[in-house]
Subunit: 393 residues, 2 copies
């Protein structure tokens, strides 16, 4: 009998709660406010088709050959040009989606037992990426303005137990939709520099602002103290799996070696397609169309919540961008217990508990306002309200 | 000052020797017999262009959306159908190149200090993928027929130190080009089952046979005791980064969770492109054209070696397929020391020492016969012989 002894880390890995929930959304007729899928209406299919033809027509053999682990030169340059602070293209590493950036950061910075700080709540995919490296994940208190800096300092650890980094998603956070204020960013960056703790800044949603751009990134304020993760998934399309890391020279060579060991390089064909699509400033007129669409959908959800949740003691926030809205149920209710009643009424969401590294606020839940249409949002929120009424103790 | 404390594993990671050597091959006019690049002549550019248009035209939005971590259903089915033993598509996990398969296997099966067995020599990329999980890598003696089964048994370890797996590349191995005999495969599979040691079988080159197909895979002989890694890089194109794992149900769910944490999923667009190209049995008439080309190039290299190495006490093998040929220099010579003299004469190769997990045979070197043209092979081997003559002690 073959003895499949699994690594200790394998026991700690778990299937994504979200992916499990998404399975119930395959039930015919269900309205899913659960997933984090960008609206397919925003995918520039025609431009991609033209780019494919151009890339394969001009130099198909190079596009289909093995390529550099760092990424395709013109795409690295385009990323550096696009970012709002001085970035050398040599500091840009193209990744197979932003998720891979998290995997590489974990490999290079986390030892078993290393202290790693996260927001309360935080992005589930980051927790999943960090888990295989067996960190000691510590939640830092967070409020409507983002990370509470005093608690960051209190949790940062000292000496050998100093946090290897704090993971922050400052813009239209997944799951809460909240944005870190300018003052809070300045204070966090200053305190992190004072304590010597690196910041890992994840910014997949930053371009999706509705009325005004969010404050400057943390990394722009202290490039030598931060690793920045970016993504093309929300401004072009997720199915190409293209993201990037911007890192200081202190860690970039090791991230590159980890990248090489992980998958040699990100598909060169996809990199050239996106570089081709981005030529001539395509994003400058494309991204505003996504912003307009998502703002309209957020407004539809806010209006539906106002209408349907009247008198239910349910609270929610008003995100300034991104894809998600955060809801809190009345005292005594649990979003996990609510889910079956909601699915019975043909609506799905993600219980907030999935996003907490330790003690969860089980009254919270995440709603996506970008995948369903405004009419579906109306029906979905009405069904959610009905489920809450039926479940209220 | 930010304190970038790196993980212990990061100190063990190193840049690929091969990638470093490949940099010298960028010198204008150099003939590179070093790289492992498939001949771009074999890339079906036109078919890919048609597939792109079809995939984006038929259902572009789905191709560009987030997708299942397991992979695209029709591609998993195509892989299962293509393999020469009974494979359930549910056992197939699509990976971002075969290199990612090695990364996932390492994460799921290797603890720090775990015994892992490899051939002598072995694929450098596998050593790089395993290193971040900090295994104790042990070389098993290997001869012209492959792994020496007696030494496998001697090195397998017992109890808590039993090898987590043995990594084997049985067909036209990278770096040696050698193929494991049928008898040796049968004996290794039997001994592994007896000792309870899993086999990880890597088969990127198996389709590239010249006169007759290689013996049946190890996994076909004991599917419950083996993980099988396959790739589209050598039969279609490497720039799409598409590979796959076939694993028994004892480990597949954990490999899937590791995959999800690593990059969510392999680009769905690329998976659909390849599934589209494979429709109607494309590989059945495409792969024979690659075989014919590479056989002709191997013959060119063998003829050049016969001609140029006369009287030099240099030996080499005659691979039955694949991309590489293995050369041994006269006693007292080192391939590492030879390299600068060769580059001076405008030819590059990879010193064999790069491929040994521990004690290296420094007289060995790897030549690729697929990237350079027959005329370049002639000139390159003549230059190599001149370098050997100039360096002979």
């Amino acid at each position: 009998m073959t003895n499949w002894t699994l690594a200790a880390r394998a026991e700690k890995m778990n299937p994504s709660v979200i992916r499990e929930i998404l399975k119930v959304t395959e039930k015919p007729g269900i309205i899913s406010l659960a997933g984090g899928l960008p609206s397919p209406k925003t995918f520039p299919v025609r431009e991609f088709a033209e780019a494919c033809a151009a890339v394969l027509g001009q130099d198909g053999a190079s596009a289909l050959q093995y390529a550099a682990s760092e990424g395709y030169g013109p795409l690295r340059q385009a990323v550096a040009d696009f970012l709002p602070w001085q970035v050398d293209p040599d500091q840009v590493l193209i990744t197979t989606g932003s998720q891979q950036g998290l995997d590489l950061v974990a490999k290079v910075l986390i030892d078993s037992g290393s202290r790693v700080l996260v927001e309360t709540p935080t992005y589930l995919g980051a927790l999943q990426a960090f888990t295989p490296m067996e960190p000691h994940v510590v939640s830092v208190a967070s409020d409507d303005e983002g990370v509470v800096v005093e608690d960051f300092a209190a949790q940062a650890g000292t000496g050998a137990d100093r946090a290897r980094f704090m993971y922050v998603l400052p813009n239209f956070q997944n799951p809460t939709g909240r944005t870190m204020s300018d003052a809070r960013r300045a204070a966090l960056v200053a305190k992190a520099a004072e304590l010597g703790v690196p910041l890992v800044e994840d910014n997949p949603y930053g371009e999706l602002w509705f009325d005004q751009p969010p404050p400057a990134p943390l990394t722009a304020r202290n490039p030598e103290g931060c690793i920045y993760l970016g993504s093309f998934s929300k401004v072009l399309a997720p199915g190409l799996r293209l993201g990037f890391i911007v890192a200081p020279k202190a860690v970039l060579p090791k991230l590159l070696q980890a990248k090489q060991a992980a998958d040699l390089h990100t598909p060169g064909f996809n990199q050239r397609m996106v570089a081709e699509v981005m030529k001539g400033g395509f994003l400058e007129h494309h991204v505003p169309t996504i912003r307009a669409l998502y703002k309209q959908q957020r407004d539809a959800m806010l209006a539906a919540l106002e209408r349907e949740m009247a008198g239910l003691s349910v609270t929610w926030n008003r995100p300034d961008g991104g894809m998600f809205l955060w809801v809190r149920l009345p005292e005594g209710m649990s979003a996990i217990d609510l889910l079956p009643a909601a699915v019975e009424r043909n609506v799905a969401f993600v219980p907030g508990a999935a996003f907490y590294a330790d003690e969860a606020d089980t009254r919270t839940l995440r709603l996506s306002f970008v995948t369903a249409s405004p009419a579906q949002i109306d029906a979905g929120i009405a069904a959610l309200a009905a489920a809450i009424r039926a479940t209220t103790p």
